[in-house]
């Protein structure tokens, strides 16, 4: 169980997050929605400790994560794998090595520098790639892959960490619709089949509704909504996305990435 307790984060004088509290049971798939700059990424980065909370506490199964140092901290980072919007693979390394990187926190620094991985780990990497439909790409350089393939390789790398939690920061924001579906299905599969907790930042509400057990809506650094997808009302959606009350044309589809949705004519052309 992941407990986020009154976590606050300030950058200079700006409050990125003001006192956020969430309890996420093991095995849940949570979608965090909100506008760009609402504080979604900051929250994920603090769970992984890529960023430090200004105050408040984050703990996993009763153990405080926010206090970890040194080896312990690296161990924790390995246990909550991160998926990035821009995939963050090492472009010049081949796919199999990128996937095996998920194991390095379990090796000593020196042996890992000469790529000494066990036969079991290599087999595990190939089978993880196969599960994500990428086994045939194992020997290609990561930079030669399409975006959707790269993101699936990144998920395979995350699986190699044997994570308790996968944190996905806008995992489909740079992908075409078909690849986006494949990546979301892969995240759903590791959540369902492996029991891994998945916390996923998403721009688009329809994706969150379709794939997540629970939706958390964040606006201006505070949690506005926390509940089932079915409980999310159009009025609440407007508040989360900060739409003025009189803008009747705004609805859920406006947050969708699918083409053909014109929210309103651009002013200068309409005039």
């Amino acid at each position: 169980m992941l407990e986020i307790n009154a976590v606050r984060k300030t950058f200079g004088k700006v409050d990125a997050l003001k006192s956020v509290s969430l309890t996420i049971p093991e095995g849940q798939m949570v979608g965090i929605i909100g506008r760009s700059g609402a504080g979604k990424s900051t929250l994920l980065r603090m769970i992984n400790r890529l960023a430090e909370p200004t105050s408040g506490q984050i703990s996993w199964n009763g153990q405080a994560v926010s206090g970890l140092r040194g080896r312990e901290l690296l161990r924790w980072r390995a246990r909550c794998a991160m998926i990035f919007q821009q995939f963050n693979l090492v472009p010049r390394l081949d796919v199999i090595t990128n996937v095996l990187l998920g194991r390095i926190s379990r090796h000593g620094t020196l042996p890992s520098l000469v790529k000494r991985f066990t036969e079991q780990e290599r087999a595990m990497a190939v089978l993880a790639l196969e599960r994500l439909d990428c086994a045939q790409l194992a020997l290609q350089r990561a930079e030669t892959l399409s975006g959707g393939q790269q993101q699936r390789v990144a998920i395979a790398r995350a699986l190699m960490q044997e994570p308790d939690v996968v944190l996905a920061d806008e995992p489909i924001a740079s992908l075409d619709p078909r690849s986006a579906i494949q990546v979301m299905q892969a995240l759903r599969a590791i959540n369902r089949e492996d029991g891994i907790t998945v916390i996923c930042n998403l721009h688009t509400l329809d994706t969150a509704r379709q794939y997540c057990d629970r939706i958390v809506g964040i606006a201006a650094g505070a949690v506005l909504f926390d509940g089932l997808p079915s409980e999310l009302s159009p009025e609440m959606v407007r508040r989360i996305y900060g739409v003025e009350g009189d803008d009747a044309s705004f609805d859920e589809s406006a947050t969708s990435t699918s083409a053909g949705v014109l929210v309103q004519p651009v002013a200068q052309f309409a005039a």
Partner: protein, 289 residues
């Protein structure tokens, strides 16, 4: 159903091996090839060490004499010639400056002419590339010796040597920068109806200018260092004094000159580094932890 290494029994490993044999290490022949190459490299290095009698004993011997010389260098003194030295130092920096500026300008057309994406006709490119190779392939010092014969002792020979050698070097660096630019911007400019020269001016130059300037600054830094050597062959500047004081074993004065050179190089390095960071808009990269 999460996979763990302990779940990888013989059958799982066998399946993974058939799925992607290459993931379990390079093929046998490739591995043999790597070992052979590594071995050859090692033998060549060892052979060179033997050839030049780089024995630890000789190094130790030389080290002893070096300590002696360094001992004679202190305290460094100018013996009343400080102003002469300062003037010569200034001359060296001025030589490097003038030479670099002229080379930087001359290299622009040459750099464009050597770039594959600017000159599609390979024979034209070939001629320009080989001529820039000639300029660059002969060392600055050799050019200096030639120009001392041609125009006589003094800074002019040094400046000419810098211009000739660095025009070649910078043309090469420019052309590489030009070849690596983003094609999209060029397409955008061309699509609005620009002619080839306009395309170079607005599609190419804004992209490569920061890289060119950064290259020029680096060459200037490097030239303030190497311009010292030019003086030693009589091509003007502080190097003349340094060579003379070493030849006559006036170690204290040689040391004074060396320290002066070090201070100058340091100041110029520092200034050009700050300038370069500004030009290229130095990006901040995240720390490693």
């Amino acid at each position: 159903m999460i996979l763990r290494p302990s779940d990888m029994g013989a059958s799982a490993i066998a399946r993974a091996r058939t799925l992607s044999p290459g993931s379990f290490g390079a093929p046998f022949l490739q591995r043999v090839q790597r070992w052979l190459l590594g071995g050859a490299f090692f033998i060549l290095t060892a052979y060179c060490l033997v050839l030049f009698e780089m024995s630890p004993l000789r190094l130790w011997d030389g080290f002893g004499k070096l300590v002696q010389v360094v001992g004679q260098m202190f305290p460094p003194t100018a013996k009343g010639a400080a102003l002469d030295y300062a003037y010569a130092m200034l001359q060296t920096v001025a030589m490097a400056f003038l030479g670099t500026v002229i080379a930087a300008v001359l290299a622009v057309p040459l750099g464009f002419a050597c770039a594959r994406n600017m000159v599609p006709r390979w024979i034209v490119r070939f001629v320009f590339r080989r001529s820039s190779d000639v300029l660059r392939g002969v060392d600055q010092l050799v050019w200096a010796l030639i120009f001392v014969r041609a125009v006589g002792l003094g800074p002019l020979a040094g400046i000419l040597a810098i211009i000739i050698a660095d025009t070649g070097t910078l043309a090469k660096l420019y052309s590489e920068a030009i070849e690596n630019i983003d094609r999209k911007a060029i397409e955008g400019v061309r699509a609005s109806g620009a002619d080839p020269v306009q395309t170079m001016r607005f599609g190419v130059l804004p992209q490569v200018l920061p890289i060119m300037l950064s290259n020029v600054l680096y060459i200037f830094e490097s030239n303030t260092r190497s311009a010292t050597i030019l003086g030693i062959v009589g091509a003007g500047g502080i190097g003349f004094f340094l060579a003379d004081r070493i030849r006559t074993m006036l170690w204290e004065e040689a040391c004074f000159i060396l320290l002066m050179i070090l201070a100058t190089v340091y100041v110029i390095d520092w200034m050009s580094q700050r300038l370069r960071a500004r030009i290229t808009g130095a990006e901040s990269t995240p720390a490693l932890h």
